[in-house]
């Protein structure tokens, strides 16, 4: 891995992975690899997850009752676990999204004036 690559990569903030997972499976149930790929693809590869860390996060969300898991078949025709948003998860996603927007907006408001002055 080159240094340049390292610099471009943005480490996920604590807790944001959960939000991204929830958002990703809002569109429909998906298995682990698909979720990881979707996050990277939709962020134009800016957000790089150590893909393995996805799984503990999925387990965490199941434990909280925000997503559920069901067995299904992958594109390879193998048995795979599909993760699906629950009603509770949907509510959580709405709440988390608005919280995140507020947060991002606030940060942006603080940062922007400085940029303008320069």
């Amino acid at each position: 891995m080159s240094t340049r690559e390292e610099k471009e990569r943005i480490e996920l903030l604590q807790g944001t992975l959960d939000l991204l997972i929830l958002r990703t499976i809002l569109l429909g149930p998906a298995h682990g690899h698909a979720i990881a790929k979707a996050i990277e693809f939709n962020s134009d590869e800016v957000l790089q997850v150590e893909q393995g860390s996805l799984y503990p996060a999925l387990h965490r969300l199941i434990k909280r009752g925000w997503i559920s898991v069901a067995d299904g078949t992958s594109e390879n025709n193998r048995r795979a676990k599909f993760y699906r948003l629950t009603a509770k998860g949907r509510k959580q996603l709405t709440a988390e999204t608005s919280k995140w927007e507020k947060f991002a907006g606030a940060i942006a408001r603080i940062l922007r004036p400085t940029e303008e002055r320069e």
Partner: protein, 894 residues
């Protein structure tokens, strides 16, 4: 764990494999070779083991699981190295035990609430001399009466004396007993009831006191064998006879003033009756009204006191009043001392921690390989540190448990050693606060001594270790940590040694002070006469006067005759109170000098007064400087005379010849003018470190029969002094028997050598120097072990280098010097730091020092040399081992 979760975790492996499989395929479609594709997918996925563990962590209280695992692992590890484990636990147990012991005293006296209802509303009201506002002064019954009359802020204000040792007798058998006077409503105020009988509480007893006394449960058991018929029985106490009206609960100890045997419920007099000067010897305790703060009470009392100063300037001028929480009032004075001790044991614990940390560092070195393997297998650094810290916390808890056990003995020892004034605390049970404190100390020490080794161990370079390079060099930084720890140990030990040295120096100076008399070959015994035969206080018209009957003087004459007839006795005499005897009450009446204008009211000079037998000065070896002493010729019918000491001569007749002056004491209406006939040398009276006060001596035969009750005690208490021909411990028993036979119904006690009395007078210093000496000794031992450990380790690490040196021609003596030099440097740096640290530290001791400066150069030098010598000695063994290294052996080892 739920079943669903278990399945999820079980399937995780397959799931991850599938994930990596898909990623690999994807990479291959981007044109990578299969190997590249797989490698990239794995890299992107991250550490599989870690993922599994993290996922597990979601479902379990993993930290707990890991904690249990860590503990089990730690226990296994510790069992494998029993020598290390025992030394570490013992070291910690000593450190923690010492802390717990001192904290127990602090807890019992200062933190634990007093066992009375509404204890948070109880306050102490005390006087203070505005010149010395820091000190708490006792109050008088009159003060309490005045305050009660003007009171707006207290529910009640009551008073109690401290237990006073007097004689009691009942049915012909006498005993020494502690009497405590306490106001009638004190018991209901504290929610206390007698065990047997009752103390009548009404308006009459409230001002006049009850016409009877209460016994403590223990005294009732001891003297009356728990006989319930004791109620109504009349006993003689101090100077009067009184019926027993009640027996208190077992263990009754009013405010930890020390258990009293007899309680006299006293009345708070009507202030209109006295108003004048009344001796201040009781403590006032009040209960705040609900909602009144201490500050409000203080402000209200300040106003009351101002009025009193205006109304009775003679009694209240220059006197402030203080309202403070009861506990602070009772024991606040001891907090400086106790916290000083806590600081000292804290230092000892620090050294113990440093030692264990060093041991752990050495141990960590031998475990480098194991740790390296764990890192390679994916153990995170935090996880490793946690594991190693768990190990040290397991150690510290084992040490804490040992410390708690040690402290049980330590608390008793502390009670045994501690000066009389510090209330006993051994009977106060350990409570949650102590356990919490010890728990806290365990965690703290565990982290303090565990953190450095844990971080060092986890900083392992995996590659180096696994390649086996980690042979035995030990990193530079680890060496530095170890050296720093030892230097710190030496420095802290030195500070403690200096403190102990200063105290021991003080003690030595005190014991070798010139007391003004010769304590060698001198025995003493205290006798206190009790019974109506000796004292008559029943004259109802004149409560303030006591009548001393002729049998008193007769007894004194007889006891001297009998004692002088004992074989081995050279001479015997007596005085009211032996100098340096630990009895607080002494007679100090006022007096008038003939020919001088009468002093202003309230400014009558007062001095200590003793009555003596003719031989007293000779037996004690107190030189008569001018004039003559008391002789047999000074009988009741001869002109009354008085002998004074130097300070009295200096203070009252600075420009005149005191001899021939005439003074009259006010201790009795029947006192006669006395002519000064002699001046004697100063004697240390109250305490070794205090200057002698003006003092006068009169013949016991020249005393009036009637005496003001305040000074009655002096008439019935005598300290006998007996000069023997030989070293005389064996004679103590025959002396005691002789006196007891003459006065079976009185109290004979304190039969001992005068040397012992003198040495008891230094007990505060003895306590401090023993305690500090003990802790400093511990610190020295621990520091020596520390140096030994580091040097041994260093020698074993450098055996290769040393072997090489020797192969190249170095002599064993040079090697010896090499190692010793290294130890010397450590120890010298430690000593220098210690000396520097002692400069801000020792001034805290100043109040406890006598005749020694806090930076006494001699003490400092001697103690430093001692420490250096001990550390050199400790490093001699490893140095010697180094010098015996066989170069061939070590080189072949390569």
């Amino acid at each position: 764990m739920k079943r669903g979760a278990k399945r999820l975790l079980n399937d995780l492996d397959r799931e991850m494999r599938e994930h990596i499989e898909l990623a690999t395929q994807e990479n291959m479609t981007r044109g990578m070779t299969p190997e590249e594709a797989r490698h990239a997918a794995l890299l992107k996925f991250g550490n599989v083991t870690r993922v599994k563990e993290d996922a597990r962590e979601v479902w379990t209280a993993v930290w707990l699981e890991q904690f249990v695992q860590d503990i089990r692992f730690a226990l296994r590890g510790l069992r494998r190295t029993p020598a290390f484990t025992v030394v570490a636990i013992l070291t910690l147990a000593i450190g923690i035990g010492a802390n717990t012991t001192i904290f127990h005293a602090i807890n019992a006296l200062l933190l634990r609430p007093l066992p009375y209802p509404d204890h948070d509303r109880l306050v102490m009201v005390s006087n203070y001399d505005s010149k010395y506002p820091r000190y708490r002064g006792d109050v008088s019954w009159t003060d309490v009466a005045h305050w009660a009359a003007a009171n707006q802020v207290f529910e009640r204000i009551e008073a109690t004396s401290r237990p006073d040792m007097v004689a009691m007798s009942s049915a012909g058998s006498g005993e020494r007993a502690g009497v405590q006077h306490c106001s009638v409503r004190m018991l209901p105020l504290l929610g206390l009831k007698p065990f047997l009988g009752s103390v009548p509480v009404d308006d009459k007893t409230e001002t006049e006191g009850t016409p009877g006394v209460a016994l403590s449960y223990e005294f009732w058991q001891r003297h009356f064998a728990g006989d319930p018929k004791v109620l109504g029985h009349t006993i003689f106490v101090d100077t009067y006879s009184a019926p027993v009206i009640a027996v208190m609960e077992p263990g009754f100890d009013l405010f930890r003033t020390g258990p009293a045997d007899i309680f006299e419920p006293s009345g708070i007099p009507n202030p209109a009756e006295s108003g004048g000067k009344d001796p201040r010897w009781v403590i006032a305790i009040a209960k705040l009204k609900r909602g009144v703060s201490i500050q409000q009470a203080q402000a209200a009392m300040d106003v009351v006191q101002q009025h009193l100063v205006q109304e009775f300037p003679e009694a209240y001028k220059g006197l402030g009043v203080r309202v403070e929480p009861l506990q602070q009032g009772l024991f606040g004075w001891s907090s400086d001392f106790l916290y000083l001790l806590l600081a000292v044991v804290g230092f000892v614990s620090l050294i113990a921690c440093a030692n264990v940390a060093n041991l752990l560092l050495v141990r960590a070195d031998s475990r480098r390989k194991e740790i390296g393997v764990r890192v390679a297998l994916g153990a995170s650094r935090i996880r490793l540190v946690r594991q190693l810290l768990t190990e040290s916390i397991v150690l510290s808890f084992a040490g804490g448990l040992g410390g708690l056990l040690l402290s049980i003995g330590g608390i008793r020892l502390f009670d045994l050693l501690s000066p009389i004034e510090i209330p006993r605390t051994a009977n106060v049970p350990m409570d949650a606060r102590i356990l919490l404190f010890t728990f806290g100390i365990c965690i703290l020490t565990g982290i303090v001594f565990g953190l450095a080794p844990a971080f060092h161990a986890s900083k392992n370079d995996v590659n180096e270790t696994l390649r086996g390079e980690g042979r035995t060099t030990g990193s530079v930084s680890r060496h530095r940590t170890r050296n720093l720890l030892v230097i710190a140990e030496v420095a802290v030990a030195l500070v403690l040694l200096i403190c102990a040295g200063l105290m021991i120096n003080t003690l030595a100076r005190i014991l070798h002070t010139n007391f003004g008399f010769n304590p060698d070959h001198l025995l003493t015994a205290q006798v206190r006469l009790a019974g109506d035969k000796y004292i008559d206080s029943s004259d109802p018209g004149n409560l303030d006067l006591n009548l001393i009957h002729p049998p008193v003087a007769l007894f004194y004459r007889q006891v001297l005759e009998r004692l002088q007839a004992l074989p081995g006795v050279e001479a015997a005499a007596f005085v009211d109170w032996l100098p340096l005897l630990d009895l607080t009450s002494r007679a100090h009446p006022g007096f008038r000098i003939a020919g001088q204008a009468p002093s202003l009211p309230g400014e009558t000079p007062a001095i200590s007064l003793d009555s003596i037998s003719p031989d007293y000065f000779r037996v004690m070896g107190i030189p008569i400087l001018r004039g003559r002493g008391i002789t047999e010729q000074d009988s009741e019918s001869a002109p009354w005379v008085v002998v004074i000491n130097e300070p009295m001569a200096r203070q009252f007749w600075p420009n005149q010849d005191p001899l021939g002056q005439v003074i009259t004491f006010d201790s009795s209406p029947d006192e006669r003018p006395r002519q000064v006939i002699g001046i004697v040398r100063n004697v240390k009276e109250y305490a070794v470190e205090r200057e002698s006060q003006p003092r006068a001596f009169v013949a016991y035969t020249q005393l009036p029969a009637r005496t003001i009750s305040r000074w009655t005690e002096a008439r019935v208490h005598k300290s006998l002094v007996i000069r023997t021909r030989f070293a005389s411990k064996e004679m103590l028993e025959s002396v005691r028997k002789t006196i007891s036979e003459l006065a079976p119904d009185s109290a004979v006690f304190g039969v001992t050598t005068v040397q012992q009395t003198v040495s008891d007078a230094a007990q505060d210093w003895r306590f401090l120097s023993r305690l500090l000496g003990l802790f400093a000794g511990l610190a020295l031992l621990l520091a020596a072990i520390g140096i030994y450990g580091v040097m041994s380790y260093s020698v074993s690490q450098r055996s290769h280098e040393i072997g090489l040196r020797m192969a190249l021609g170095a002599q064993p003596s040079q090697v010896l010097a090499l190692v010793l030099r290294q130890a010397m440097i450590l120890s010298l740096v430690g000593v220098l730091i210690g000396i520097a640290a002692s400069f801000p530290a020792t001034p805290f001791l100043t109040v406890y020092l006598y005749g020694v400066e806090p930076h006494d150069a001699l003490t400092l030098t001697l103690v430093s040399l001692l420490l250096i010598a001990v550390t050199l000695f400790a490093s001699y063994v490893p140095a010697h081992r180094a010098a015996r290294i066989d170069p061939m052996e070590t080189l072949r080892h390569e």
